[in-house]
Symmetry: C2
């Protein structure tokens, strides 16, 4: 059904290298550093497996699409490498549970190493990956996908670890219950596993997935590499590509970080320089960068993307790689409109992270307010 | 297949009342107080459901037998009553996963409220309960059944809670992994759920289950009730029935108890009186009574049964009901020989509870040593 070669985009080593850079930027600090995922993806390619992306509009309405990804604390998945076939075992166990084959794999989150996982699993299973994802970035919890927000029930799902354990969440009373149970299991399994959710029909994916995630992340990565090779400013190139803005430059003066209930939580403090000399920046973290504040005032807030880049290379620094003394740029990129609806903001806006006291104000609205304030000051 | 009425023993309200007493004694302090289970069992009987016990020897070799029970901290199951059909949902989900119907229910542990759960579920599912269990008492962890010790792999298993969540442990890398994952889930579900394990063939159950658990527990309960009604000493009646011995009488002077990782753990101190005047007794607890010491010397040790009884009524006091000032008898009852093999002692002897520094010495061996010591002293 999905074999029309004309539709499929072939993914090779160059695309994987570019995706590593793009996915790390869209990870907004989370989802894990894609470096190890990249190495695993390259290995799978070198074994002769085919990686193919299916454009979202080419997905048949009745296709059965399974979203999958790693679950757990990214930090752990860097120290304890996957056995390699966890995702494939998820797919096989899910197919056995359901009694039918699935047609395509989708990405839960394009940000971080979860951009690589669907490609690796799909290559092993000889399936295409749909050009989309459920976040357009990274988020720390499973119910934070547009799939879940717009009504997909993600059970029965299957979780596999490197020990060989297979857990089926056959029915969850709610998406939040699914998250709670899976989180408890992943912690018991040592903090990092792979999970494949119940299939979605193609027609649902086309309407509610964040579109073009892979092609966009690869292009974003290429943009950075081009700027680097042409000695142009990669930070500016990213802002132009993603319609983003530079909100801070400075040196990291402190990082608080702890592993809490399977998550990395903490805060980074930044001493400003250049245009931000004398300012104090702060970024609140729960696996991802959640809130950027300048001098105690909130300027960028989840679900808009807060990206920490190495000021020279323009490459993203994930939260577990943050350390004292790094010279960074902080970018704000607008999130996809599907994340800004009232139903989405309840889940992936401030209340979804225990930050109900903060009001979400989109980057563009915040910009307009600042412009008005400046105009007011001038008059 | 299991419908030969001649084999089946009908269970009515009198049997349930007697079972409550017998199961509490065999619970050795754990498995939860059967009182609430009794009320639920009586309700099911009053709804007109049939409860039937199948003698172990009448079980066909190829019967598919599923062991089930509550999992979690007994204390929680007393405060948050079950929805009622958790066990039936386990059976139905397991049958759906396996693709075949099961023939009979078995008991995981005859001690405590888990004696009631199979009867309730089997009545709802219109199945018989085999007259056996996997412990002959109560133990805190799932891998501590004779089923697991003698080679049954308990996955795929199904765990259901009162919220409607259904988790299938489809494959566990080991029985200990099954326990770890189920324990993590039951904690996430609030501390008390119901779990049904993979079916066992009848031939395996006949060889490796602890036999006659229900009929024995019911007779034990009747023995206590008879002694009570005839103003005889129920403690003596129990010792005679179970070939046990009275090891201490006294008043509880202190109870340390905490909820730790889904278990109730702690220690009870007892000031001796009567024959034990001036002695200090101590009982180590992990859901069940694990070790009895007198004046710092270990006298009875798991898997032999340490039973705390109200000194007047002869009724068992479960660990969560222990409190300062209670006047108690402590009985030691020999465990079933299936729990005393080298392979069993690794799992349900001292090493299974982090007590590897203690050597298991059966009640009878300890008695012989004491006799020799006395003889030696006399010579």
């Amino acid at each position: 059904m999905l074999s029309r070669q004309g539709d499929l985009i072939s993914i090779g080593e160059e695309e994987i290298e570019a995706l590593e850079i793009g996915a790390a930027i869209l990870g907004t600090g989370g989802g894990g550093n894609p470096y190890i995922g990249k190495l695993r993806a390259l290995q799978v390619l070198r074994e002769g497996r085919k990686m193919r992306i299916l454009p979202l509009q080419a997905l048949p309405d009745d296709a059965k699409v399974v979203a999958l990804g790693g679950i757990g604390a990214p930090l752990i998945s860097h120290e304890r490498i996957k056995e390699g076939r966890e995702g494939l075992r998820c797919i096989r166990a899910l197919e056995e549970r359901l009694g039918f084959k699935i047609d395509a794999i989708a990405c839960e989150e394009i940000g971080g190493q979860n951009a690589m996982e669907p490609l690796i699993v799909a290559a092993l299973a000889d399936l295409p990956v749909v050009d989309c994802d459920g976040m357009g970035r990274a988020f720390p919890e499973m119910q934070m996908t547009t799939y879940a927000i717009y009504g997909h029930r993600s059970t029965p799902s299957v979780m596999c670890d490197l020990h060989g354990n297979v857990v089926i969440f056959d029915h969850a009373a709610s998406e939040l219950w699914h998250e709670r149970l899976a989180r408890a299991c992943v912690i018991a399994q040592g903090g990092a596993s792979t999970l494949a959710s119940a299939p979605m029909p193609g027609v649902f994916v086309k309407r509610f997935a964040i579109p073009d995630s892979y092609t966009k992340a690869i292009s974003l990565g290429r943009t950075v590499r081009e700027a680097q090779s042409q000695n142009k400013d990669p930070v500016e190139a990213i802002c132009n590509f993603e319609n983003g803005q530079l909100v801070f430059t400075g040196k990291i003066s402190d990082v608080k970080r702890e592993l809490k209930g399977g998550f990395v939580a903490g805060e980074a403090a930044i001493d400003g320089f250049d245009d931000f000399d004398g300012d104090l920046g702060s970024i609140l973290i729960q696996n991802e960068n959640l809130v950027f504040s300048r001098n105690g005032r909130t300027e960028v807030i989840v679900p808009d993307l807060i990206v920490i880049l190495d000021i020279d290379t323009g490459e993203a620094i994930t939260t577990e790689m943050l350390r004292y003394g790094q010279r960074i740029s902080v970018l704000a990129l607008p999130c996809h409109p599907l994340l800004r609806t009232p139903e989405a903001l309840k889940v992936v806006g401030p209340p979804g992270f225990g930050l109900g006291h903060l009001n979400y104000l989109s980057l563009e609205e915040a910009g307009d307010q600042q412009d008005s304030a400046k105009k007011g000051a001038r008059q």
